[in-house]
């Protein structure tokens, strides 16, 4: 079976006061279509750096990241932007909603960016994340759980091939965290999207199809 996303021999290091710190050491991995992968590791192990490189937000010192036959490490900023419009989405611990837009506008915003706006898609997503009653609210009027549901709807509206989530429940209480996780997995299945989650939470990892552990920059 051909991988949707594959990383080959990824290395990444940072310089700190003339000292070179190797964060990722020759990482190789593949993620398949509609697969749910959890990346786990201690703080500073390199998991966030890995997800950033896989998502094309950061470039490795060496190695390749192939998504749908395109090497993300070789793409220009504009080409990467197009990939993010069509194939890659994100959900973050701190939601990152646009404060001046309403829930409905936040959700539909990626479609406007890719010039493919359709109101019925927005309504559908609003319905799926059960925020119809909050459609005209602004982010500061929402609870943490509602904010994350908006962020998830916004991430999935373009029907991306792969959704990256960095500690998606990190800012939520136990009850909200559990319902967000259920929603995320449910929608991932419905949209047939690959889901890559960075987490410390064994509860989330337990629900994943596969767990990738990183220890000192290497896959364990």
């Amino acid at each position: 079976m051909k991988a949707l996303l594959s990383a080959h021999d990824i290395c990444k290091s940072f310089s700190l006061e003339h000292q070179k710190i190797e964060v990722l050491k020759s990482i190789n991995l593949s993620v398949f279509e509609a697969e749910f992968v959890a990346i786990m590791g201690k703080s500073g192990s390199g998991k966030s750096t890995l997800i950033s490189i896989l998502a094309g937000l950061d470039s490795p010192d060496s190695g390749t990241v192939i998504l749908h036959d395109d090497d993300l490490t070789q793409l220009t900023e504009e080409q990467l932007a197009l990939k993010r419009q069509q194939e890659i989405s994100f959900v973050f611990q701190t939601f990152h909603l646009i404060p001046t837009l309403t829930v409905e506008e936040n959700i539909g915003f990626p479609l406007k960016i890719s010039r493919s706006f359709q109101q019925n898609k927005v309504d559908e997503l609003l319905n799926k994340v059960q925020l119809n009653h909050r459609a005209n609210s602004f982010p500061h009027q929402l609870s943490g759980g509602e904010k994350q549901r908006t962020a998830i709807a916004r991430a999935l509206i373009t029907q991306p091939s792969v959704l990256f989530a960095d500690e998606p429940t990190g800012n939520l209480d136990e009850k909200n965290a559990s319902s967000i996780l259920e929603l995320l997995i449910d929608l991932q299945k419905q949209f047939n999207t690959s889901l890559i989650v960075v987490t410390h939470d064994p509860g989330i990892a337990k629900r994943a199809d596969r767990i990738i552990r990183i220890v000192d920059g290497r896959l364990a």
Binding site: E78, A81, L82, P99
Partner: protein, 826 residues
């Protein structure tokens, strides 16, 4: 704590830079003007006697009566100067020039000295001193001859400056100084209608009061001649008037700049404190109390205020050193600027007060810090202890204090402060309405273009200071645009393109018997107007002296007026009201009929049927108003406040005033011919005078524009500070857009739309209000056609758009350099 705060402050250079700029821009201008003003005041105090000319000065527009001359002539010759000033045409064989003649007696000047080009040369009788302008225009040199009236003089020296005429920019005609004893040879005295007679007297303190009382009593007793008697202390000089008016006006502009800079300062401090919230929270969590933290910031900001004032001081010294030419029109020759410590201390007090007021809110927010809330990445929403209305009261009180100090009057200070507040409120309300309209359009989804929607929504971003920025920019655009629009309309119609149908040559002091010869000399038709000089004795039985205090400032009821006679309206007039339909005059039984111009009737508060008594050289003529005329066209054409039937004034002592239209290139030759044949006639070239006026107005406009432009700079600082205050939000927005795959060009578009919306809304609101004000002033005050400078407007608009786009581009480039990954992680 202090060193930590200082280190944090210096870490990002933009904060100290903007803070310093805010204070330096406004205070450098303030100190420069303050130094100029105090120096001029000191100059006037130190040189009052030489500026006035004597301890006692008698002035009149009529010959000084013999009774007074008898008293004055008892004084020693060295204590006395007779001074006669009038306009005349000075001429050579082939050239002529309008000059301002000053004939003085031997003891001139009583105080101070004449400054001459060749200082060692003496000035003998039969010779004259002339300004450089005379030499240049008539192509003469020292030692050459020049004719004035019927007399020929040798130019003895070039006159650089006179002690009693510190400013040369005012008044028309180049100065020629001659001896009083040479005056009769010119034979001009009997022919000139407008001569200023002056007697300057040197008197020791003990005699001064006695002489003043004696002359004053005599002057009051002579009703046929109006004489002004003043001591040196009572006399105003042109320079002190200038200091009191023009510099105070410029200072008011700078006070507005100080207030605007204060807003910029507030934004900078707000942005810095917001950025330091986490550090402050950590310090508080480690046991530092909030009072100590606030004290550290206070020390920092006050130190910066002191440092910035020192910088402003240095900048102002540079301005004063390098901008002498800009101030040339309002400064006396060989004027020395005296920079004193009090100028610095005043500026320092302003800087400290401004800092205290503008940093208060941000510093008060530190008291609300709850470390745990901040460390959890949440914002503090605790209400501020300091009420905002009280803070506004302090700001207004501070502005009032400064204005009262500058205007030297609590009452005027309060009036101008109220004016400032009202103008500010008007603009703030206009901008608020505009913003509400934009908000309404956004809410109603009337704007479909999503990038534009986002940009407009960003205007309402918290901390954007959009309203303040737009108010400041629209207000300053309005001031500059109003000056430019008025200047443009007036110059277009009166100066640059002198009205085609208007006369461009004016002949003063034409004698009736000269008319025929003049007509033969000048190829074009001349219009002659008889002029009878008279004073107003009473209005409806109330003496003019009594009325003077009750009337406005439109004119002086006690001056000499030019009456004319005739039975027709001028082409530029229409009948506003009349006792008999379409009749200038209607028969009166007890008085002569009078036609009055409406503007003067309003000034005198008179109407049809009211009675005016004129004094024509001791003969009293009682008149009743039978019609009121109105000017329908303004510009350089003659008009008379008072018109009477010919039968009433035909035999009165009179002269003629003539106007004609001549090709521009023939005026100089005709002027010379006229001067040679009729030396008593003064020829005025309308276009040349308009041009001279334009140069002077341009100099003043330039000064006003420079100081008003400072408020634009202050507006720019507010914009820069608000960018700084919202930079975190903007970086965040830019990351969101990039995270969702927005192309850089689209991010740039959104930011450009926002900048364009802010800049263009503000600028065009200012232009719109300025156009409206200028239209009203030009149409109803100057009675001219309002001309909008479309080319200038579109060029400025294009320049502004370019500037805003460039600003947006570079700002976005700086945002792009921030790491997306770091942001998303944190």
């Amino acid at each position: 704590m202090n060193s930590l705060v200082f280190r944090q402050w210096l870490q990002d250079k933009i904060f100290p830079l903007l803070f310093t700029l805010c204070i330096v821009v406004s205070l450098a201008a303030y100190i420069s003007l303050d130094v100029l003003q105090t120096s001029i005041n000191r100059y006037v105090d130190d040189n009052q006697l030489q500026l006035v000319g004597g301890d006692l000065v008698l002035t009149s527009n009529q010959k000084i009566p013999a009774k007074i001359l008898d008293v004055v002539k008892q004084l020693d010759e060295t204590q006395l100067v007779f001074d006669y000033q009038f306009n005349a045409i000075a001429y050579t064989q082939d050239r002529s020039l309008l000059s301002r003649i000053k004939a003085v007696s031997q003891s001139y000047p009583l105080y101070g000295q004449l400054l001459l080009k060749q200082a060692d040369k003496t000035w003998e009788k039969g010779s004259i001193l002339v300004e450089q302008q005379v030499l240049t225009a008539l192509e003469l040199e020292i030692g050459d001859s020049l004719t004035i009236g019927e007399a020929r003089f040798t130019i003895a020296n070039e006159l650089i400056s006179e002690p009693d005429r510190p400013l040369t920019a005012f008044g028309f005609g180049a100065r020629i100084l001659m001896h009083e004893s040479d005056l009769p040879q010119t034979q001009l005295m009997g022919q000139k209608s407008r001569i200023n007679y002056r007697i300057e007297i040197k008197a020791a303190d003990e005699n001064k009061q006695q002489l003043f009382a004696q002359l004053s009593k005599l002057s009051d007793s002579i009703s046929s001649t109006k004489i002004n008697l003043k001591t040196s202390e009572q006399s105003n000089t042109s320079i002190s008037n200038l200091s009191q008016n023009f510099l105070v006006f410029l200072k008011l502009l700078v006070v507005a700049v100080i207030v605007l800079s204060g807003v910029g300062l507030m934004s900078v401090v707000k942005a810095f404190i917001a950025e330091q919230q986490k550090v402050n929270a950590i310090c508080a969590a480690l046991g530092e109390n909030n009072r100590t933290i606030v004290r550290s910031y206070r020390i920092l900001f006050f130190s910066m205020a002191v440092l910035s004032t020192v910088l402003a001081w240095l900048v102002s010294l540079m301005i004063l050193h390098f901008s002498h030419d800009i101030f040339a029109s309002i400064l006396p020759h060989s004027f020395n600027l005296t920079v004193s410590m009090s100028n610095f201390l005043k500026a320092l007090a302003i800087a400290l007060a401004l800092t205290a007021l503008m940093t208060h809110f941000s510093l008060a927010s530190i008291y609300q810090i709850k470390p745990i809330v901040l460390l959890q990445n949440k914002q503090s929403h605790a209400p501020l202890a300091f009420k905002s209305w009280l803070w506004i009261v302090f700001i207004v009180a501070g502005t009032f204090g400064l204005l009262a100090l500058e205007l030297n009057s609590y009452w005027q200070g309060a009036q101008v402060t109220l004016g400032f507040v009202l103008i500010w409120l008007f603009f703030l309300s206009t901008i608020s309405l505009l913003m509400k309209f934009i908000h309404w359009m956004l809410n109603k989804r009337l704007i479909k273009q999503w990038k534009l929607v986002l940009a407009l929504q960003n205007i309402f971003r918290k901390g954007n200071q959009s309203r303040l920025f737009m108010t400041a920019i629209s207000l300053t655009s309005m001031i500059i645009a109003s000056i430019s629009l008025l200047d443009y309309s007036v110059q277009e119609q009166l100066i640059s393109t002198y009205p085609k149908e208007a006369p461009n040559v004016f002949l003063l002091d034409v004698q009736t018997n000269q008319q025929e010869e003049i007509n033969a000399l000048i190829p074009n038709k001349l219009n002659y107007y008889p002029v009878v000089r008279a004073r107003i004795d009473s209005v409806n039985g109330v003496k003019a002296d009594v009325l003077k205090t009750k009337l406005g400032r439109y004119d002086n009821i006690n001056r000499i007026f030019n009456l004319s006679y005739g039975d027709k309206l001028l082409k530029t007039e229409t009948l506003d009201k009349s006792e008999q339909k379409n009749q200038l005059f209607s028969p009166q039984t007890e008085a002569e009929p009078l036609s009055i111009l409406n503007s003067f009737a309003e000034f005198l508060k008179v109407d049809l049927g009211d009675e005016l008594v004129f004094n024509i050289q001791g003969i009293f003529i009682k008149t009743k108003i039978s019609s009121i005329r109105k000017r329908i066209k303004r510009g350089p054409s003659p008009f008379f406040y008072f018109l009477l039937p010919e039968s009433v004034l035909h035999d009165a002592p009179q002269i003629r005033f003539a106007t004609t239209q001549l090709p521009e290139d023939s005026i100089a030759a005709i002027q010379t011919q006229l001067a040679q044949k009729f030396p008593g006639i003064t020829v005025l070239n309308g276009a040349s005078i308009a041009n001279q006026l334009k140069q002077f107005v341009d100099q003043l406009t330039q000064l006003i524009t420079v100081f008003t432009a400072l408020s634009l700079l202050a507006g720019g600082l507010i914009f820069a500070a608000s960018l700084l205050a919202t930079s975190q939000d903007r970086i965040q927005e830019s990351y969101y857009y990039r995270m969702m795959g927005m192309l850089n060009k689209d991010i740039l578009k959104i930011s450009s739309y926002e900048f364009l919306a802010l800049g263009l809304f503000a600028f065009n609101t200012g232009i719109l209000i300025a156009s409206l004000c200028s239209y009203l002033i030009v149409t109803y005050w100057f009675s001219l056609q309002f001309i909008f400078p479309w080319l200038l407007f579109f060029s400025t608009e294009a320049l502004l758009i370019l500037l805003l786009l460039l600003l947006s581009f570079f700002y976005n480039q700086s945002l792009k350099s921030n790491n997306l990954l770091d942001f998303l992680r944190h």
